[in-house]
Subunit: 166 residues, 6 copies
């Protein structure tokens, strides 16, 4: 049995993430979507929120579940007896970052394999940062995220707007 | 059961290829190393030679075997009921080529998934073209290919040298 | 009045080319789609065929017409009193090639401006080379080219197949 | 009539920006240089200062004027009935950023076109960040910005230096 | 006599830096490893610590010594009568950054030459940022830095951990 | 004493090559510009012509001379007791090619160092291929090559034109 881990900050989860999760779950026996608790850059959503949004997003994938962690990704994978780490590749800057991560992981933990999925063409432009920037300026994000994530973003930025109007 | 296809020209197989094959065979149930018969650029070795060198190279991987094909890679994968195409990524120009291939394949045959493995750091510089160029100029290729491939290259270029002396 | 030239080999024209032509014709007063007669790599279609396929492809764009040329693109633009050369950008290797061409053109003819349009996401993978490779191996190209181009490709490769059966 | 918007933070405007503005104004009927009010990274100059420096910089381009905005760039363009957004491309990392922005904009507002101008070779190294870094360390920026911008930078960093000596 | 400067933040020095220093010292008469005092991003180690770690790291290179500076690198090189600035190249994003720096330096100070060394394959993944991230999460960094640097990192993050447990 | 080798096909030498040669000769004791006899792609000029054009181009650099070779570049460098191979970097695709070459050379001959010089901004677009393409179409190459190379190109393409008129 092959268990795979799909790690990320998921701040918030967008349609590109869900597509990778679905495709990975189709070729591995079990998929753990692993939410990293404390990314180095500021997050918009707390880890509990990011986990909850992801759980709703992948609820219909039977062999997938959501975990959270705060350690090296390879150590989390080893703790779960996972043999594979799954990553999505969109663009060149992703590639370089992923390449470094893959080489670092391999040196730290050669027994965990890292495989990459190329994103779909309609998601190449999509990143959590883009989603947040467009939502903050009242742009339409309905083609980028699921409805429950769109609501969470609107609520978050409306609150910010409300405070700003005081 | 997940069957994966690892396609290429393999003219000739080098240590980077074998590393990818070994890692892919570790996470998928069955691996078919698929030798493409007629690449667009000129090949040094005939398809029978490329298949034979590959069969010797992966003889110790129990769940892997060598095939050959002349059609779209996705059509070969479908004909074998393979769900996955495996590719190695070394460098940026690979990335772009692979990205295009992945998007084209997805449009042609969405049911076949394509996953990429990042090459090991000691193989990032390695390509069949480099191997041939170094061998042709009598450079030492013992850290790049298996001994039986080294012999085949020496024989090929020795013969070329012999002809040139006539 | 701004006249723009959109140059290329167009061997054959695909949907990505037509999209760029349509978008350029929307913002410039007149668009000349300029078929380069003798590209350095081998072409599948003769220049008359490439021109005819393009004329059919852009017949419904009222302010666009098809020309052919065999000289520096900037000299062709100058001869037509065109102020602008239009190019499409898909991927990084395009970018570098286009950058070099833009700098070379500017040094040769600073009075002709070169502007780039980013390709649509559904065409990022599309190139004339990909179209020909897929068509040669009997893949489905109906989402890549217009029907009259598809027919021309099928006819070309069927004939090749027919000859091969002799 | 084609109206084009050239958006940016312009913190501060440098010679590369002015070159793009001049070239865009030569092929479109009207050019609005649009200063984005609140970029995500810290700015050295307030929006009023950035607008004033730009107005002085393009004062001699008859069909160009300076605007300021705080919304999605495509929404600003639509509000102005502009059909085109103009961008400059210097290097690969620009390309990727611009590509993402173009695809995002197209999804949000397909009726606004985005076109890119390749920077001149003597400006490929030039960015507002470089200008500020060199100025902060007392390097000579006279070949990078116009004299009034150079004065503004010297004044700003002199004041900073003065404060630091307290 | 050719004196070369090898500048950086060195926060902290890793094996990739030492390799470049050793190789540069082999072909130039004298090498000054120059620690930049105040990089724009936050540093983990104070400049005195970074200098001390570097001095220990290159103690066995007879024609190399460590300096510190806070001005333009080219001005520091000129003040030392150095003719060459040495840089290491690992990956594409390095390349772009270095290219910009080289062009900026050349414009500022054409009499100082900048040369680049390609990093060894086993160090392509290595950066000070990676070292710090892995160390912070208790990963094994013994193949990335010298023992005295490893101790300094462990001490730093142990103290941070201790504080965090209060 | 440090002897450096600057290898290339030089078909033909252009101003970017000469700039690199001049800069390398300024920091190394002796520079050998090494003309590779049989590049894999077709050359326009025979090796004797390429050597002669280069000798004229660098005649005024006192510590440089021209050699020719047909073996691995590192083997040629070793045969000359050269410690350094010099390369020019213009653009990203150069970078990747050079990176592979550097890693291959290092594996073959670790005692020979390879250093890279970033090209000047006014030469980033310049390549022998561009020069030949522009010259073939009667474009002005006077800002790209020295007068004696321009004459050689005109003579070569005039002869081709003359034949074509028969």
């Amino acid at each position: 049995m092959i268990r795979a881990v799909f790690p990320g900050a998921f701040d918030p989860v967008h349609l590109g993430h869900i597509d990778i999760a679905r495709r990975a779950a189709a070729i591995f026996d079990e998929l753990v979507v692993a939410v990293y608790e404390r990314p180095s850059k500021n997050v918009l959503f707390a880890v509990q929120e990011r986990v909850a949004m992801m759980e709703q997003a992948i609820a219909d994938i039977p062999n997938a579940w959501v975990g959270r962690y705060y350690c090296l990704t390879v150590d989390y994978a080893k703790a779960l007896d996972a043999q594979v780490i799954v990553r999505g590749l969109r663009v060149f800057s992703d590639f370089e970052f992923e390449f470094r991560m893959a080489l670092t992981n391999r040196r730290l933990t050669p027994e965990v394999e890292m495989v990459s999925f190329m994103t779909r063409e309609e998601h190449t432009f999509l990143s959590s940062t883009t989603v947040k920037e467009v939502a903050e300026l009242n742009g339409d994000i309905s083609s980028m995220v699921m409805p429950h994530v769109q609501e969470a973003l609107l609520a978050r930025f409306a609150r910010a707007g409300g405070l700003a109007e005081d």
